[in-house]
Amino acid sequence: MRTWLVVSLLALVTLVLVVLSVGTGDYELTPAEVLRTLAGQGTKAQYLVVTGRLPRALVAVLVGVALALAGAVFQTVTRNPLGSPDIIGFTTGSATGGIVMILLVGAGPGLVAAGAIAGGLLTALVITALCAPHGLLSSRLVLIGIAVSAVLAGVNGYLLVRAKLEAAAQAVGWLTGDLAGRDWTYFVPLVLVVVVLAPFVFAHAPALRMLEMGDDAATAVGVAVPRVRGTLLLLAVALAAAATAATGPIPFVALAAPQLARRLTRRPGPNLAASAAMGAALVVAADYLGQRILSSSLLPVGVVAAALGGAYLIWLLVSSRGRVRAA
């Protein structure tokens, strides 16, 4: 009951933020004007503004959902609050794929996205292969992920140093995670990925809950542990890679959204719906703030997400002094 209350509230918050965000920019619209235009009763100019900005907000929602679901799956499977895709290197892999396309191929957004997805999947494959002889033991996965992530970070740094300043600036812009200029061409592939993959994740929610109890317990209630875990991780990697492809890596959403959702719903377990709603709210909020904080320049969503996410974790640690199991 509480879960659904939380989900509806978060969805409402997201909706409000989307409306506010669509009204924000050089040409300001009031929320009422945005709603009226969406209902088909705005002026032609308003219509153009709203439809111009709408995909950006919707991409933000989808990216949040995708990252949060990926984070929830990873944290549950690895049984580790730090075991989210951004920490264990899959997003670094996507980043490498993306900037290889930008810096070495000089490619446009489509190929950058393809590179990001390929990079994420390839990294996942390598990490899984390296874990393989002993199975995907949670702590080993995190360790090897951190190691592979560092190798890739080195490669990324080297590519940036070698590149011309202009190309490097473009790559850094993408690496920061930005929603500027995300139009329908970004929205369409992303929505396809999320709409196809997310239901599969939700269908596995019961199995995921069992996995959290431990492999033995899950096996005992009839979960085919290796197959289910493999499927779920593959889905999560694909979701995270698709999100990264659309905006560049946005930090902390995959890490924080499931944790925040758990706190709000006061329920253990993966909390998939609440995590997804929280992820959407977080990304949309970060993007809205980024457009509002400074009047002179727009802050990319990734910067705001990093600062907010970090500040949240710090607050969490400070406020829970004495209790060892923070987060």
């Binding site: 609050p81 033991l137 995190v142 360790l143 090897i144 080297y158 300043l165 600036a169 990319p300 600062a307």
Partner: protein
Amino acid sequence: MVQIAERVTPRPAGVRTLVLTVAVLALAAVVLLSIGFGSNRISLGGVLHGLFAYSGTFDDVVIRDDRLPRTLLGVAVGVALGLAGALLQAIARNPVADPGLLGINHGAAVAIVVGTAVFSVDSAGQLVWFAFGGALAGTVLVALIGGATSPLRLVLAGVAVQAVFVGVNQGMQVINTHNLDRMRAWLVGSLVNRDLGGLAGLLPFFLTGLVLAAILARPLNTVALGEDTARGLGANPALVRVTGMVAVGLLSAVATAACGPIAFVGLMIPHVVRALVGPDERWVLPLSALLGPVLLLGCDVLGRLLGSPGEIQVGVMTDVVGGLAFVVVARRLKAVRR
């Protein structure tokens, strides 16, 4: 949280002495390699001439003014990183702990960005102090937020502080491309073109870190027996951890200020050392200090060879080599499930 147990057993004294001897020899060898190899081929005789019979020939200048300072810097930074990593892992009781993990590098990066953007500092000698201050501030912040008592909180605090720093940093880079140009060069980590005169001011901090590490070796052994046992033996675990964090902060700040963020030396070396000599900190700390520069200089030489006619920066090499080696180590670890 990551919980890892290593298959580490105490080793007989003979093995330790052997390891120590090999480590000293390896350090000597890598120092010679670092001075001897480069884009200019200089014979062994030429190297010795440049070192001991300096007469101002071109080769002499290359040896004395380019390779020797670079090598010395590499040794100092390697010692600092190896020790900082070993201390941190002992304090956090977490073999994944690495100075880089605690937001130290990124604290330095933010300070450098602020230095260039806000205070218009341009000289390397002055930026070193911004880097040092930032790195130290990052460590202090992490230690304050994480508290000195719990290893888990320490790591989480590192992740959190680092995220805020990275966010601020990237924001400044996106807004100002001049920062980007400076930062991307600094952020890879390199031993090239460092102004040794400007770095000399860091020496007292480096030495303080070394002394603290030496003092801490025995108390860290006691603390490793567990909180209660340590208190029973008259040790003060909280004091040991706080002092240890001060040493970690000083050593990694010096290293980061001197040559940019270098990851993995602090993560890798203590692992290798513990596998070789067992868990006794009185052996782990000095051997980490000896082998840190072996890895760092080795990577630097490798970067010069692989990248010729140019070079691959040592920070990139340590990331790749250290990362790959760490994969091997991680695969050999025995994982403990909660």
